[in-house]
């Protein structure tokens, strides 16, 4: 119980720090919101009036207080580009991105774990060489390059899947998955390469340990030794690394969603950044950082469920 309370307090403190950093980074902008609304050619007096009415002349700390107060009470302001309230706008885009984040993570884990185990079992033989080389090339290619190749192959070449656009899963689930598939694969391939390397390294370490030799000496089948004894011990670290990659994914979706015109959180953030839509930048950056932090927390808690040796203390 004390652990949980401690943990929650720590989450609250981190969220507070995230909000401060978000606000600080976006407030060193040379222009301000008033200039964004009225344009650079506007009448200086009107501009000064708008600044006053928006409270832009108040001290930074007062402005921060007003912003965080709005965030807490659900008033996230209005996007300058989309002319819509930011809260609902972000909520809608987050669900779109959740689909490709979950799909890409699934693709990555489903392929990376068997591949990494396979490489570790055949350590230093051709199987290991092939898998390790493929994984090394995989981590070296930028996501958007994967994306372009996938568009060329599956959309333009074979015509199997759409190369751009977003369909809401509630409207037509199959079509939504078809639209989400190529962006997810573009994100998933790089991640898969990374996790394959991680699984291989962890498994190699574990397969060299005493208890594996004991298991083999007992006459257990190789399959039981590798999967029940080996992987059961490797899965924790692998899942932890996978969880840490959620942050990487939320960075990459900015590039990949823009490439595929997939109107999720990454696309929204990119539009906000391109148009210097300050309130929307603040909202999006805050939400992404908060989601990443909470995802890492979830992985920590999950870890304690998977590995009973780790007690909540």
């Amino acid at each position: 119980m004390a652990y949980l309370i401690n943990r929650l307090l720590s989450v609250a403190l981190t969220l507070f720090l995230i909000s401060v950093i978000t606000f600080a980074v976006t407030n060193i902008l040379p222009g301000d919101v008033a200039m964004m609304i009225m344009g650079t050619q506007s009448n200086p007096e009107a501009l000064a009036g708008l600044r006053e009415s928006l409270g832009l002349n108040d001290p930074q700390i007062v402005q921060y207080g007003r912003w965080i107060g709005g965030i807490l009470t659900g008033d996230w302001g209005t996007s300058l580009v989309f002319k819509e309230p930011i809260g609902p706008l972000i909520a809608q885009k987050v669900t779109a991105s959740a689909l490709i984040v979950v799909m890409s993570m699934t693709i990555a884990l489903v392929c990376a774990i068997p591949l990494g185990v396979w490489a570790a079992v055949h350590r230093d033989r051709w199987q290991d060489g092939t898998a390790s080389t493929a994984a090394l090339i995989g981590v070296s290619l930028p996501d958007f390059f994967w994306g372009i190749m996938l568009i060329l192959l599956f959309a333009r070449g074979l015509g199997w899947l759409p190369s751009s656009g977003f369909v809401h899963p509630a409207d037509d689930f199959t079509l939504a998955v078809r639209h989400a598939f190529l962006p997810s694969l573009a994100l998933g391939l790089g991640l898969m390469a990374h996790l394959t390397r991680m699984t291989r390294a962890t498994m190699t370490g574990i397969l060299g340990q005493e208890f594996i030799r004991v298991a083999r000496a007992k006459g257990l089948s190789e399959r039981t030794v590798v999967w029940r004894y080996g992987l059961a011990n490797a899965i924790g670290p692998v899942l932890t690394v996978a969880g840490l990659q959620v942050g990487y994914l939320f960075g990459s979706i900015i590039v990949v969603e823009s490439l595929f015109n997939y109107t999720g959180m990454g696309w929204l953030t990119y539009q906000a950044l391109l148009n210097r839509d300050i309130p929307l930048i603040q909202g999006s950056v805050f939400v992404i950082a908060a989601v990443v932090m909470l995802a890492n927390l979830a992985v920590d808690l999950l870890y304690t469920l998977i590995d009973p040796r780790i007690r909540l203390a």
Partner: protein
């Protein structure tokens, strides 16, 4: 040192040296004219004898442009990583060596910064400062700092608990001397390994930023920019994306291979 004499080490080192050589010498050898010459009759031409890598939408030779792009990518990635080490080193050492309240406060801040995806942080800083070459370096440099500070702190903490540090302290060594004489030399291998791996990530980050129009700006040649420009011509001229994409991939691959081997040689406690 034997680790370098593996195929992985040799190929990795060769790629890194070749890319560095191209980055340094290509702009000196290739006349500007060749890289910017527009051959309108040969727009989006496929690989030919005259243009071995084909041409782009303005009929410019892709071979020359990808060579010139190397300088931008290497310059930005190198400066950004250097910057993150210069900022991260004192933060990490102070945190790891002194511990206590300073460590708690600094690492809480670093952990919070790590919640921001590096690419998002770099894009935001670049958009806020206004995208150009210098600001791209600053953006990537700041975005990579928390990660390096974390690694350096861990290493400093480990070294600070070594018996020889204790012995030196008993002999009356001052903190400043201790950091310079004992901590710094012993965390250097880890910094070199992480720096090399970070270079690979920085090359990818620069390409990503430029691809989104928030990094290097024309007329500078950059691999990310070239891929961005190719998007409208993918159907007719896929090589306009493949050539710069391959350049990024090969460079990052070389750095990753070299980094793996460096880690095996310098920092054997961790495996690749």
């Amino acid at each position: 040192m034997r680790g370098f004499l593996t195929p992985k080490g040799l190929i990795g080192a060769a790629i890194v040296i070749i890319v560095l050589a191209i980055a340094v010498f290509a702009p000196l050898i290739i006349p500007d004219k060749l890289a910017t010459a527009m051959d309108m009759r040969a727009r989006l031409s496929g690989p030919t004898l005259a243009h071995p890598f084909g041409t782009d939408q303005l009929g410019r030779d892709l071979f020359y442009r990808v060579m010139l792009g190397a300088r931008t990518s290497v310059l930005i990635a190198g400066s950004a990583v250097l910057m993150s080490i210069v900022i991260g080193l004192p933060l990490g050492i102070v945190s790891g060596y002194y511990g206590g309240v300073i460590d708690n406060v600094l690492m809480r801040l670093v952990d919070t910064l790590l919640s921001f995806p590096a690419l998002l942080l770099a894009l935001t800083i670049s958009a806020v400062l206004g995208p150009n070459l210098t600001n791209t370096i600053i953006a990537i440099g700041i975005a990579f700092t928390p990660f390096l500070a974390r690694i350096i702190r861990g290493e400093a903490l480990r070294v600070a608990q070594m018996p020889y540090v204790e012995a030196a302290r008993a002999a009356g060594t001052t903190d400043a001397m201790m950091i310079v004489r004992h901590i710094l030399p012993n965390i250097m291998p880890a910094i070199i390994v992480q720096g090399t791996i970070s270079l690979a990530f920085a090359i990818l980050a620069e390409a990503g930023l430029s691809f989104l129009g928030l990094g290097t700006q024309p007329p500078d040649a950059s691999w990310g920019l070239m891929i961005q420009a190719s998007r409208d011509y993918l159907d007719v001229a896929p090589w306009t994306a493949l050539v710069p994409g391959a350049a990024v991939a090969l460079t990052v691959l070389g750095l990753n291979m070299f980094g793996d081997v460096l880690r095996d040689v310098l920092d054997p406690r961790t495996t690749s």
